[in-house]
C-alpha cells in the first residue's frame, strides 16, 4: 500500500504529530495521491475511519472527533506543482505550508492573499482550504472560497477526482471546489488545490485610528466603508485589544487600516480617510510595513493563542458587525466574563473571545448565540475548554441548510469514513 517508511512505529511519530484529542491506531504518511487512494479504498472496505491532517494547527475547530483508526498526514505532499506567472494561477499540494507557498509565488512578484491564524506556525494549504479560515486581508481578497479554482482530491471510497479547473472563469459542472472550502475534511481528502493569484502591490501603509467612544468609531467606520477607498485590511478593535495589541492604548476603540497600491494612490487614500474621520478620531498613526508587522500579526492570530474559555466567530450583516461592540457592552449575560472583540466590517465578521468562569462562560456563549441569531447571522465556537465542551457545541444553528448538508455528507461518504462529527452532532 504505502511503503514502510510512511508508517512510523508507535511512539516514534516525530514531533510534528499534533494533539488530536483521540488516539489513532496508526498514523500514515503517504507521499502521493495514489497511496492516499489506496488507503481510503482499503479503509472504506474495512470500515476504518480516517482523519486527514497536515499542519495540525486548526484541530480546535469543529466538534471533537470520536474513535478513529488512522490519522492520515499530508506532510509529505508539499510541492508547488504548477505556477504560470502570466496566468496568475498556481497548483499546490495541500501539505505545503501557506507561508512557503506565498514565498514561492512571491518570487514572481505575485501574491496568494490569504493570511490565516497560524500563518507563521505551520498552517498548511490543505488546512486553510478545509477550514476556510482567513485573516485581515480577507477585507480585500475574500477567503479561500474566492480564490479556489480547482481541487484534486480522494473521495472516501478511494476514487481520485479532479474538479473545477485551472482557469479563472469556468462554469462547467457544479462548483465542488468551493464546497470543499470549510468542509473540515469531512467530504474528501484534499490533495492538490489550484488558486487564483494576485499581483503584489508596490507600496503599502498602515493607519491606526483611536476613538474615545463607540459612537464616534461607528460613525467613522461607516464613513470609511462609504468612501472612495479600497483598504486591503480594515479591522475594529475593542478597548482591551486596542491596549493589548499596542494599537491605540487608552482608546475606547481603534480602527486598523492597510492600503496597498501605487504610492500616490495610497497617500491619497490615507489623506481621504484622515479627512472623513478627523471629527471623530482622537489619534492617528501612520506606519510602514516594518513598523506595523507586529500589529498585523496580532490581528491575524486573534483569538489565538488564547487562554480563553472559548472563542467564537459571528457572521453578521455589515452594520451589525460594527455595532456588535455596543451589543456586547450592554448585554448583562456578558458582564461576568472578560470579552475581547475584533470586527472585520467589510466581511461582516466579528471574532470574540471570552475568558473566565465556567457557568458564566456557558451563559455568555448562549447569549452570543442568541445575539447572532437576532442579528440575522450565525455563530461558530472554537477552542472551548474541555470541561465546557458538553455545554458549548462548536456550531450554532445551521437552520434549513442542515438537512441538505447532511444529504451531501451521506452521498459523499455514506460510511462516515471521514469523521462527519466535526460538523454534525450525532443523530
Amino acid at each position: 500500500m504505502v511503503s514502510a517508511s510512511h508508517v512510523p512505529v508507535s511512539g516514534d511519530t516525530g514531533s510534528d504529530v499534533p494533539e488530536f484529542g483521540f488516539s489513532p491506531e496508526v498514523i500514515l504518511y503517504p507521499e502521493n495521491i495514489e497511496e492516499i487512494s489506496r488507503v481510503l479504498g482499503f479503509a472504506s472496505q474495512k470500515g476504518i475511519r480516517v482523519f486527514p491532517f497536515a499542519g495540525g494547527t486548526k484541530l480546535f475547530l469543529g466538534n471533537p472527533v470520536g474513535a478513529v483508526g488512522a490519522a492520515l498526514s499530508l506532510k509529505r505532499l508539499g510541492r508547488v506543482l504548477f505556477h504560470e506567472p502570466s496566468d496568475m494561477v498556481s497548483t499546490v499540494e495541500c501539505g505545503m505550508e501557506v507561508r512557503e507557498f506565498q514565498n514561492a509565488v512571491g518570487r514572481e512578484n505575485q501574491l496568494f492573499p490569504v493570511d490565516p491564524p497560524g500563518l507563521n506556525s505551520g498552517a498548511t494549504v490543505g488546512g486553510l482550504l478545509s477550514t476556510n479560515l482567513c485573516g485581515p486581508m480577507s477585507t480585500r481578497y475574500g477567503t479561500c472560497r474566492e480564490l479556489i479554482l480547482g481541487v484534486r482530491a480522494v473521495r472516501a471510497d478511494g476514487e481520485i477526482i479532479n474538479l473545477g479547473g485551472k482557469v479563472v472563469k469556468n462554469v462547467a459542472g457544479y462548483d465542488i471546489p468551493k464546497l470543499m472550502a470549510g468542509s473540515l475534511g469531512t467530504l474528501c481528502v484534499l490533495v492538490e488545490a489550484t488558486f487564483r493569484l494576485y499581483p503584489r502591490q508596490p507600496f503599502s501603509r498602515t493607519l491606526v485610528l483611536g476613538f474615545d467612544s463607540h459612537v464616534s468609531c461607528s460613525r467613522a467606520a461607516r464613513a470609511i466603508l462609504a468612501a472612495d477607498v479600497v483598504p486591503t485590511c480594515f479591522e475594529i478593535l475593542d478597548e482591551r485589544l486596542s491596549l493589548e495589541f499596542a494599537a491605540a492604548p487608552g482608546a475606547k476603540r481603534s480602527v486598523l487600516l492597510k492600503f496597498d497600491s501605487f504610492e500616490e494612490a495610497v497617500i491619497e487614500q490615507i489623506k481621504q480617510v484622515r479627512e472623513i474621520t478627523s471629527g471623530d478620531s482622537v489619534s492617528f498613526i501612520e506606519m510602514g510595513d516594518q513598523d506595523s508587522r507586529e500589529l498585523w500579526d496580532s490581528a491575524r492570530e486573534f483569538p489565538l493563542p488564547s487562554g480563553a474559555s472559548f472563542s467564537s466567530k459571528l457572521t453578521l450583516p455589515v452594520t451589525a458587525s460594527i455595532e456588535i461592540f455596543s451589543d456586547i457592552e450592554s448585554n448583562p449575560a456578558l458582564s461576568g466574563v472578560t470579552v475581547r472583540c475584533l470586527s472585520r466590517p467589510a466581511r461582516g465578521v466579528a471574532l470574540i473571545s471570552v475568558s473566565g468562569g465556567g457557568e458564566e462562560a456557558v451563559r455568555a456563549a448562549h447569549s452570543l448565540e442568541n445575539l447572532a441569531d437576532s442579528l440575522g447571522g450565525r455563530i461558530m465556537f472554537s477552542g472551548v475548554r474541555d470541561e465546557l465542551r458538553e455545554r458549548i457545541k462548536a456550531w450554532g444553528d445551521f437552520g434549513e441548510a442542515l438537512f441538505l448538508m447532511k444529504n451531501i455528507k451521506r452521498r459523499f461518504d455514506p460510511g462516515n469514513i471521514l469523521p462527519g462529527e466535526k460538523i454534525f452532532d450525532a443523530d
Binding site: 514502510a4 481520485i160 479547473g165 453578521l316 455528507k409
Partner: protein, 495 residues
C-alpha cells in the same frame, strides 16, 4: 428533450391543467399551442421542445405547490427566466412543465448600509443597478444581455460579463437565496451576511443551471461605484500583441475592470453596422477599462499606456469623456449582433483558456476555420481568457450549419487541450453536455451527480441538462461502508 418521456392522456392533461389553474389562477397557466411556441426554446433556438404547460407563479408558495404537484405526478419541470440563455438550459422537457419566474419581478428590499438588495428572480439584471445607482452603488455582474436577462437566470448560469476580471462573477455577488427544492420544500441558504458557516451550499446552487431547485429570492451584494473610470483603446497589427499586452498589464500589478479583444473580422463587422470608429485595417483592438480610487486610476493610466506601447500598439486612445467611452464600448457590445449583418448565420461559442495560451489557441482556431472553409470571428474577455469565437455560416447551404457546429465543438477541444474549460459563462445546458467528458472522467461526473442527488433524488428538476448521460440516484457512485472489518493497525502491517 429526454426521449423516455411518459406519454400522457388528454384526460390526465385536462386534470393537471385544472389543478394548476386552481393553484395559480387561469391567467397564469398557458396551455394553448400557439402560446406555448414562445417557450419552446431559450436563446439557443436550434433546439425546440413544446412543453405541456407553462406556468407563471407569483410567489414562492405558488412555485412550491406547482413543484409538489409535479412530484406527485412525476412531471419534469424546467425553471425559466428571461430565456436569454445560450446553452439550452431552459429548453423544456418533453411532457414537462415550464415554470417561468417572469412575474416574480419585485425588488423586495434595498439596504444600502448593509450593501444588500433582495430581489425576486424575475428582476432584470440592470434594474438592480438602477435601484441603487442614485446612492452611488451598482450590481457588478454585467452580462451583455443585462437589459433583458434576469437575476434568476444569472444565478442559474453563474453569469459573468465584461467586468468580472476584477469584480468576479455572479457567485461572488450572491449572499443568499430562498429556493424551492425539487420536492417542493422552501429553504433559505445564506442571507444578508457576507460570510456563511458550514458547507457552502450556496456555491453549489449558483451555476447549477436550474438542476438543484428553483430560486425564489436572491440576496445580492452591491458595491460602491468607482470614483474614477478610464477606458483605453489600442489597435494592433497582430492579435498576438494584443494578447501579450493583456498578460503584461496584469503582471505589472494592475487589475483592470475589464479587457476585451476583437479581431479584424469582428472589427469590420462592427464598423459595417454601427461605425464605432475602429480602424478597419487593424489586426486586433484591445479595450482596457481601469476603475477605482481616482489617484489609483490616474497612476495606472500611464503605466498601462506604456505597456501597450511596449507591446506594439499602433494607436492608443484614452476616452476623453463619457460619450467617447461609450463609443469605444458600443462596438464591443454590438459585436454579436453585427455578425448577423455580415453573415446569414453564426454560431456563438463560449470557451476558456489560460491567458498564456492565447496565441496558440487563436492560431489553431484560424487553422480550423481554414480546414472547414468557414470564417471565424474572435471576440473575447481577454483578461480572464474567456473566448467567444463566432463561427459564420450560411444556413441555406446544405450541410454548412452542421459544419459550423462541428467546428465550434473542435474549438472547445482546443480549449480543453490547453487546460481550459468548455464554458466560461454560457453554461453546459443541453447544448454542451456531450462535451463535459472532455473535462471530467466518469468518476468526476458521478461526483457531481452526488450533489444533484442530495438535492433532487427524483431527478425531475430540469432533467436532460448538464450530465452527458442519464444518471439516477439509486445507483450512486459511492459504495456504503464495506461489510468486512479490520483493525486500523493492519493498514501498517500491510505496507
Amino acid at each position: 428533450m429526454d426521449s423516455q418521456a411518459v406519454k400522457r392522456t388528454d384526460r390526465w392533461k385536462s386534470r393537471i391543467a385544472s389543478e394548476l389553474v386552481g393553484i395559480l389562477g387561469a391567467g397564469a397557466v398557458i396551455s394553448a399551442e400557439d402560446e406555448l411556441i414562445a417557450y419552446e426554446s431559450d436563446g439557443l433556438t436550434g433546439y425546440r421542445v413544446t412543453p405541456l404547460f407553462v406556468v407563471l407563479p407569483s410567489s414562492a408558495e405558488e412555485v412550491s405547490l406547482v413543484v409538489k404537484l409535479c412530484n406527485r405526478e412525476k412531471i419534469p419541470f424546467v425553471p425559466r427566466g428571461a430565456g436569454t440563455g445560450l446553452s439550452g438550459g431552459a429548453l423544456p422537457s418533453r411532457e414537462g412543465i415550464v415554470i417561468s419566474l417572469s412575474r416574480m419581478n419585485r425588488i423586495l428590499d434595498v439596504d444600502i448600509p448593509n450593501r444588500v438588495v433582495v430581489v425576486e428572480p424575475g428582476v432584470v439584471n440592470i434594474s438592480v443597478t438602477d435601484a441603487v445607482s442614485a446612492e452611488g452603488f451598482y450590481y457588478a455582474p454585467d452580462p451583455s444581455s443585462q437589459i433583458v436577462c434576469t437575476i434568476g437566470g444569472n444565478v442559474a448560469e453563474n453569469s459573468g460579463g465584461v467586468h468580472c476580471l476584477k469584480y468576479g462573477v455572479t457567485t461572488n455577488h450572491v449572499l443568499g437565496v430562498e429556493m424551492v427544492l425539487p420536492d417542493g420544500a422552501v429553504v433559505t441558504l445564506g442571507g444578508p451576511t457576507p460570510e456563511s458557516l458550514g458547507y457552502d451550499l450556496l456555491s453549489l446552487v449558483v451555476g447549477s443551471e436550474g438542476l438543484l431547485g428553483i430560486v425564489t429570492k436572491v440576496f445580492l451584494r452591491i458595491i460602491k461605484k468607482p470614483q474614477m473610470v478610464k477606458t483605453l483603446f489600442a489597435s494592433f497589427e497582430r492579435i498576438e500583441d494584443a494578447g501579450a499586452s493583456v498578460s503584461a498589464i496584469i503582471s505589472s500589478g494592475v487589475i483592470p475592470a475589464g479587457m476585451e479583444i476583437m479581431d479584424n473580422l469582428s472589427i469590420n463587422a462592427v464598423e459595417t453596422t454601427v461605425g464605432a470608429g475602429y480602424p478597419r485595417d487593424a489586426g486586433a483592438i484591445l479595450l482596457v477599462e481601469l476603475d477605482g480610487p481616482g489617484a489609483e486610476v490616474s497612476a495606472q493610466v500611464p503605466a498601462v499606456t506604456g505597456i501597450l506601447r511596449e507591446n506594439g500598439a499602433i494607436e492608443i486612445k484614452l476616452a476623453a469623456d463619457e460619450s467617447e467611452r461609450q463609443l469605444f464600448w458600443k462596438g464591443r457590445k454590438s459585436a454579436f449582433a453585427a455578425m448577423g449583418k455580415i453573415s446569414p448565420g453564426y454560431y456563438v461559442q463560449d470557451g476558456v483558456i489560460p491567458r498564456s495560451s492565447l496565441a496558440r489557441v487563436l492560431g489553431e482556431i484560424g487553422e480550423l476555420g481554414r480546414r472547414y472553409g468557414l470564417r471565424v470571428a474572435n471576440v473575447f474577455h481577454a483578461g480572464d481568457g474567456n473566448l467567444h469565437p463566432l463561427v459564420l455560416y450560411d444556413p441555406e447551404v446544405e450541410g454548412e450549419s452542421e459544419k459550423a457546429e462541428e467546428l465550434s465543438g473542435e474549438i472547445l477541444r482546443v480549449c480543453v487541450d490547453v487546460g481550459g474549460s468548455i464554458t466560461g459563462e454560457h453554461g453546459v445546458g443541453f447544448d454542451k453536455k456531450r462535451f463535459l467528458p472532455l473535462m471530467f472522467s466518469e468518476q468526476e461526473i458521478d461526483t457531481m451527480n452526488l450533489v444533484r442527488c442530495a438535492f433532487d433524488e427524483e431527478g425531475l428538476c430540469n432533467p436532460g441538462k448538464v450530465f452527458p448521460t442519464p444518471r439516477t440516484c439509486v445507483e450512486p457512485g459511492m459504495q456504503k461502508r464495506g461489510s468486512e472489518t479490520a483493525p486500523a493497525k493492519e493498514m501498517g502491517e500491510l505496507f
